[in-house]
Symmetry: C2
Subunit: 391 residues, 2 copies
């Protein structure tokens, strides 16, 4: 083995990962950045240019002589498709190869109508988006509102998805579309989307969705943690020490989401004579300044804080993001949660901890599903396979 | 880019990872296993043979013609050093390149005497072990009984290690020995050791140390999870819903380790008039069949179970391992813990969950520290650098 062989260590697919941030670089930058030889960098850049994954991006400034040419990742060299299913609607989106949503369409549907009906509707919509864009499809990301075995893409006993248990979602999608298919639950996808949106600056991030239920997506060391069977992040069913609160009866034995979800806040409001039947009602009341709604949501935040303090001690994230339909009034949840987290967790774990509302907005699910698809479709191995096939 | 270039995708260092299991393989096996070309496999195997990392291991059986030669990883091509510090003793061990302990020596010391004194003692012992073995030192792994910033190897506000806060352990070790130095807290190292001992068959494993305190090392997807600042796994300071129990006063607000540790069980025994002043006393009483000690340890297991149910819902491990000085009577802890975990956690998360005593034994810390050192010293990049340096 010679040093030349060592210089070949980084494949084109691996080199390409350095360019996915979209920053334009000279070949010299890449030599300095990777330790690869000039000839090896040149061969890899040429192959990536030929495949359309990189494009020339003009000349760098020079201190004399012919200015060096720069290249950058062409995020428009292809497209990714996102199918983001909720209980009552689906958002179908097309994203570029950086995961940035280009076009999204929302359709009402009932997830309980089963996989064939729901997927047909979503795929019809997807084909329209693809026809308009004419971009090559690199991958498909699918999010569903229930537990999924990520390795096979099949839902596992999903409580609100009758007919979907064990259904081969990737197989059904591949019958209609080219490209690899990745499937996960909605909260994991929101976590991936939030991580991507923050530019990878926060590698230990816990995304908490507070809506009808409560769930979490855990990103640790930049990677989503799915656990042995894919059920990691089930924050809603943990039992925490319940503080005294209007949401909690003495001796209460319920799990977190029975006490701190939007559903729980709405029920407590109804007990006080305020008509609140949905998360949207709770959000509207808070936005209108209803004192009970604000107080109860802050109480829900305190109970949530008991759970988050445990997450902080176990996982040591640097950021907790609050999203979901109650994420729109996250400030009240966060105020309650902060009180408890900073009291309960050890100082080393809370020293640099931030608790913030989600920044994902309405395209969060599309961005997350597209990013998940790209993690597979633009991996070093996948890019190397693509280049080899073009050979 | 051509298919030839693609075939060069896997470096010698990466190919070497496939052989670290110690199984003997032919070059043809490696071609089939990796997709590399015959010539590329041959060049890489030659380089690894020349470096002594692989050795010829005879001939495979053949269906005719000259039988193909097999090669295997030579775990005796070098050594790893482990310095495993506890509060009152240190175990210094030499391991082979598979992390298997070859020689270990335990010495009494007081960690509170500070880093210079403790490291001098350990390093003197280490040099003796190295002199006897005459093997090349590949790396050093250090475990300490307190929080560590893994990236720098410096302890961070360690409660029982006066003088060690911020001390540059890797720098001090490198003044005396060659090789890269990795440092982590004792529980993370026990988790790494347990994972290695089980041959990597269990990639989502939580190691729980129950002794004077309670801590956990979390392995997820085969990787130790350290979190943003290295404080992940702090199970002992979480607040759980405390069940009614002889260990818990009504309205009790203490954290897990104040209620379920060896210290807590010993204190409850003293309240009942049984002289128990240490974890060792508790273990002795249980082994002698003391009914109170058994009942209280099982109660501690139930409280621990409340915390483990949360770990299971959040992380979805496939195995929880109970170690530490109370791990020697783990059956009683586990019996209590199981009752609660299987009741509290969702079925998908407990379906294939095993809760078992640690198999690590007295060399667990040495195996873990050596394995941690080897994760760095035999990484693909480190092996490629080693081969390049040999030219």
């Amino acid at each position: 083995m010679t040093t030349t062989d060592h210089a070949n260590a980084l494949t084109a697919g691996a080199l390409f990962q350095r360019l996915r941030d979209g920053v334009a670089r000279t070949r010299g930058d890449l030599v300095a950045d990777t330790g690869l030889g000039r000839a090896a960098v040149a061969a890899r850049v040429d192959a990536l240019l030929a495949a359309g994954l990189l494009v020339p991006a003009g000349a760098a400034s020079s201190t004399g002589g012919r200015p060096p040419q720069v290249v950058r990742f062409d995020a428009h060299a292809g497209a990714t498709l996102a199918l983001d299913f909720g209980a009552r609607h689906a958002t179908i989106g097309l994203a570029d190869l950086s995961g940035e949503p280009i076009a999204t369409v929302s359709r009402e549907l009932d997830i309980a109508e089963g996989p064939e009906t729901c997927l047909r509707l979503a795929l019809d919509q997807a084909r329209e988006l693809l026809r308009d864009s004419r971009a090559e499809l690199f991958g498909v990301g699918v999010g569903v509102p229930g537990p999924v075995e990520h390795s096979t893409g099949r839902p596992v006993n999903p409580p609100i998805m009758p007919g979907w248990d064990g259904f081969d979602i990737p197989g059904a999608v591949r019958e209609e579309l080219d490209g690899e298919v990745q499937v996960d639950n909605d909260v994991n996808i929101l976590a991936i989307g939030e991580h991507a949106l923050r530019g990878g600056a926060v590698d230990d991030l816990v995304y908490v969705k507070v809506a009808t239920g409560i769930g979490a997506g855990i990103i640790s060391g930049g990677l989503l943690q799915r656990g042995a069977l894919g059920s990691a992040g089930d924050l809603g069913h943990i039992h925490v020490r319940l503080p005294e609160s209007p949401l909690v009866a003495p001796g209460d034995e319920r799990d977190l989401e029975a006490v701190a979800s939007g559903t729980a806040v709405a029920a407590a409001l109804r007990e006080r004579g305020t008509p609140a039947h949905s998360n949207a009602d709770v959000v509207r009341l808070i936005q209108a300044g209803d004192a009970d709604a604000i107080t109860l949501t802050r109480e829900a935040g305190r109970v949530l804080g008991e759970a988050l303090a445990i997450v902080v001690n176990l996982m040591n994230p640097s950021m907790i993001v609050i999203g979901g339909s109650l994420g729109r009034v996250a400030d009240h949840l966060i105020a309650g949660a902060r009180e408890v987290v900073y009291r309960r967790s050890i100082p080393l774990a809370t020293q640099h901890l931030r608790i913030e509302p989600s920044r994902g907005g309405v395209t969060a699910g599309v961005r997350g599903a597209a990013t998940m698809a790209l993690q597979a479709a633009l991996s070093p191995a996948a890019v190397d396979r693509r280049l080899a096939a073009q050979g």
